[in-house]
């Protein structure tokens, strides 16, 4: 569907115990937007992403992706909840990349990418592997196709994970702190791949602590704190003229950290 936003979120909340990790979030993302999500830990950034593809089931609120309600289908004006099989089907076109890569430990890099097209989309094994080989070439890992995850560096694993998500031909990509578990010298290669996707016009939400990257690559920036979106603006504006005290506070602390790291 081309009318309306690709992603529409209304009143999304998630509660763990007594704490609202996500507190009535509204968000529209249109095709091609690259939304950077930043904020202190515990702000609800990861939970927001995980509620979009329902790996976490939200307490209340609607998530509509490409016109499809992720929770169920409307019948006679009422929302009929999906079966788990229907939910799985709806997840197919939403790619996700995890902080800890989560590559399938028993499969080669190639088969990590091929298993989705093969088992979920029903492609023949040889076709799925051809698709996978192409995608591994795109993240420049053709030489490592036969290796198991344990034989790859963190940066290589994360690139395989990105290829695995792309193999499902997603309309929307969710990156959950894709470089946070990486050694500093491996961050660059992963960011380069994400930059490439951004250039190709992939719509994405990226939770990140890489401020320079957020500023450079993002077309839009969300600052979250306490389960709410506090600022929703252009990256350039956020980093030069943050509107709220909380954002200023956060940026000062990040600055200090980066300075101390530089020394």
């Amino acid at each position: 569907m081309s009318t309306g936003p690709l992603l529409r979120i209304r009143g999304l909340s998630k509660v763990f115990g007594d704490i609202a990790v996500l507190d009535r979030v509204d968000l529209d993302v249109v095709l091609g937007e690259i939304v950077m999500v930043i904020g202190p830990s515990g702000a609800g950034k990861s939970t927001l992403l995980r509620c979009i593809n329902r790996i976490e089931v939200p307490a209340t609120g609607d998530v509509v992706v490409d016109g499809v309600n992720m929770a169920g289908d409307m019948r006679d004006g009422r929302l009929v909840p999906d079966t788990s099989v229907a939910t799985a089907r709806k997840r197919q076109r939403i790619g996700m990349v995890f902080q800890r890569f989560n590559l399938f430990a028993h499969l080669s890099a190639l088969d990590n990418v091929a298993i989705g097209p093969h088992r979920v989309l029903g492609l023949a094994k040889s076709e799925a592997r051809a698709v996978a080989a192409e995608l591994l070439a795109r993240v420049r890992l053709s030489d490592h196709a036969a290796k198991r995850p344990a034989q790859l560096s963190g940066g290589q694993q994360q690139r395989v994970a990105i290829a695995r998500a792309l193999a499902m031909k997603p309309t929307l990509m969710l990156f959950d702190e894709p470089t946070s578990a990486l050694d500093p010298e491996l961050v660059g290669e992963v960011l380069t791949v994400i930059r490439g996707l951004a250039r190709d016009g992939m719509t994405m939400l990226v939770v990140t602590h890489e401020m320079r990257f957020a500023r450079e690559v993002g077309t839009r920036l969300l600052f979250m704190d306490g389960g709410r979106v506090i600022e929703d603006t252009a990256p350039e504006i956020f980093f030069t003229r943050p509107a709220t005290d909380r954002a200023r506070d956060f940026l000062t602390r990040v600055d200090e950290r980066e300075h101390s790291a530089a020394v």
């Binding site: 593809n53 790996i55 788990s84 099989v85 799985a88 089907r89 997840r91 197919q92 076109r93 939403i94 790619g95 996700m96 995890f98 800890r100 989560n102 590559l103 399938f104 430990a105 028993h106 298993i115 989705g116 088992r119 979920v120 994970a161 695995r164 998500a165 193999a167 499902m168």
Partner: protein
């Protein structure tokens, strides 16, 4: 103390070999059915359907909570009540398979649950259903962890097959008892019986060691 009577030991060898053959047959069949039941029940214990999960839990609860000997008698005497006339041999196979299936179900379940949740989340993220993620992601990864406890279970099963002597199947133990009844030499025969079991179990253990290495 009487002298150890070696002649009766040699006399018993062919009879015990025959008994051992029955024990192996029984165990192999029970292992086959038991592993099948256990694998299916173990996979189903992660099903989304509450009723299915409950059924598996009841089964495991019963098998764990009652002595194997009681289960053997139950199967032997209960099945005919439901119009199922099985030979003693097949009653024995059913009882052993029923018993080991319950324990194997637990082994499979804990093996599957020991896999990092990130694997399941990744499987979900590419649109796999619960069933697909269990079959294609969790099960292959848990096989190596399942093998050692599964070996233990198979060894237990072979030893438990001696219980079937009570429903007059001429397996290894019963064969020894028959000779004891005729020759009055319990010490010699039970010692010999122990050696027979040791040999069978040792071969099994070697085999499973090999399998474990192959899966590593």
């Amino acid at each position: 103390m009487n002298a150890f009577d070696w002649s009766v030991v040699w006399y018993a060898v062919p009879y015990l070999c025959q008994g051992a053959l029955v024990t192996l047959e029984l165990s192999a069949l029970a292992m086959l059915f038991g592993t099948t039941i256990g694998a299916v029940a173990g996979l189903l214990s992660l099903a989304e359907n509450v009723f299915v999960r409950g059924l598996v839990r009841c089964y495991v609860y019963f098998v764990r909570g009652t002595p194997a000997l009681v289960q053997v008698f139950l199967v032997y005497f209960a099945l005919p009540q439901f119009g199922l006339e099985l030979s003693a041999f097949w009653s024995g196979v059913v009882a052993l398979a029923f018993n080991s299936g319950g324990f194997i179900a637990e082994i499979v379940r804990s093996g599957l649950q020991s896999i990092d949740t990130g694997q399941t989340e990744a499987a979900k993220s590419i649109g796999m259903t619960n069933r697909q993620s269990v079959l294609f992601i969790l099960l292959p990864q848990s096989l190596r962890r399942i093998t050692p406890p599964l070996t233990n279970e198979v060894i237990t099963l072979v030893k438990s097959s001696s219980l079937l002597s009570v429903i007059s199947i001429s397996e290894l133990t019963r064969s020894a008892q028959a000779i004891i009844a005729a020759k009055f030499t319990p010490f010699e025969l039970y010692a010999e019986l122990a050696v027979f079991y040791l040999i069978i179990i040792s071969i099994l253990a070697k085999f499973s060691e090999y399998v474990e290495k192959r899966l590593a």
